[in-house]
Subunit: 177 residues, 2 copies
C-alpha cells in the first residue's frame, strides 16, 4: 500500500543530518523528498494551488536549491523564471546586494533586465532560516519598482524567527521545523 | 501580435555575450529565454513531448543551471528529481568523480541513495560544450547499475564536438549553435 501524502508525511520524507555543514547544525536534506516522484509531484501541486489565482508573472528563485522547485512552480503557473545568483555567475549587467552571514558576508546578483515594474513576483527559495538571504533578494527585486511580491519556501525553521524580518509580505512555507 | 514560437525563434531569444566568463568565449545566456513565460513554457512542452513515452523514472540534473529546467521536466514527466552537485554541497554519503577542465580539475557528487538500478534516467544539463561534465555525471549514474540513460540539453555547441564523447547515448538538444 502506498503511503498517504499530506504535509506531515512530506515532513517525514526530509532527512535530518547532524553537524552539516558544520558542528551544531542539524541540516534538513530535501533530496530524499525530491527523488520520490509522488512527493516531488505533490509538493509542486501544493504550491500551484496556493498561487494559481494570484496573477504571478515571474518566479524569482535563489541559487541553487531554489532553482529546482522554482522552475517547476514557474512552469505550472505559466510564469517566466528569473534566477538570483552568486557573484560573477550572471553574464550581463547586474544589480548586486551584499548581506551578512554568521561569519563574514556574501552577495547576490540579478540581471538589470530581469523584471518589469508591472510584474507580480513569487520569490522562491528552498529554506527560510534567519531571513538574511531573502531580505537581500527582496532588495534586488524592489529596484525594479515591483509592487507585489509573494514569498514561498519548501522548509521554514520556525525557531530562527526569519519571518520577523519579512513582516510586510505574504509568506507560505510548506513544511515547518 | 505575439511572435511565433518555434526552435528558430527560441534560439533568437538567447543572448550572446562576448568574453564571458573570460576573453575569447562567446557566452550563450539563457536567462533571456527563461524570463519570458511563453518561451519558458514552450521549452518545457518540447522536452515533455520528447520524453513522455520513455518511462523516465528520475531526472538527474547538474548544478546549477541544469536544475531550472530539470525540475520542471521531472514534474511534467511525473518523475523524481536528483541533483548532481559540486563538492561539499550534498550532506549525506556521496559518490564523487573528478574531471578535467581546460585548466585544472573539478569534481561532481551524487548521493549514494539517489538512484536504483531499475531506474530509467533522463540526465539534463543546460549546455553541452566539450562533454567533460556529462561524462563525469554518467560515470556517477552508472555506479547504481542503471541500464537506460537518456541525455538532454537546452543548448548544444556543435563546434566543440561534445557528442563524440557520448556515442552510446540518445541525445536531444533543443537549440544548436
Amino acid at each position: 500500500m502506498e503511503q498517504v501524502l499530506n504535509r506531515e508525511t512530506l515532513k517525514g520524507s526530509i532527512r535530518s543530518i547532524e553537524d552539516f555543514p558544520k558542528e551544531g547544525i542539524l541540516f534538513r536534506d530535501i533530496t530524499t523528498l525530491l527523488k520520490e516522484k509522488r512527493s516531488f509531484n505533490y509538493v509542486i501541486d501544493l504550491f500551484t494551488e496556493q498561487y494559481k489565482d494570484k496573477g504571478i508573472s515571474r518566479v524569482v528563485a535563489i541559487e541553487s536549491r531554489g532553482f529546482i522547485l522554482g522552475g517547476a512552480i514557474a512552469h505550472r503557473l505559466g510564469a517566466g523564471f528569473v534566477p538570483i545568483r552568486k557573484p560573477g555567475k550572471l553574464p550581463a549587467d547586474v544589480y548586486s546586494r551584499n548581506y551578512q552571514l554568521e561569519y563574514g558576508e556574501d552577495s547576490l546578483e540579478i540581471h538589470k533586465d530581469a523584471l518589469e515594474s508591472g510584474d507580480t513576483i513569487l520569490l522562491h527559495d528552498d529554506l527560510l532560516a534567519t531571513g538574511g538571504t531573502t531580505v537581500a533578494a527582496l532588495d534586488l527585486i524592489h529596484r525594479f519598482g515591483v509592487q507585489k511580491v509573494f514569498i514561498s519556501y519548501l522548509v521554514e525553521l520556525d525557531f530562527l524567527n526569519g519571518k520577523d524580518k519579512l513582516k510586510n509580505y505574504e509568506i507560505f512555507s510548506l513544511i515547518h521545523f
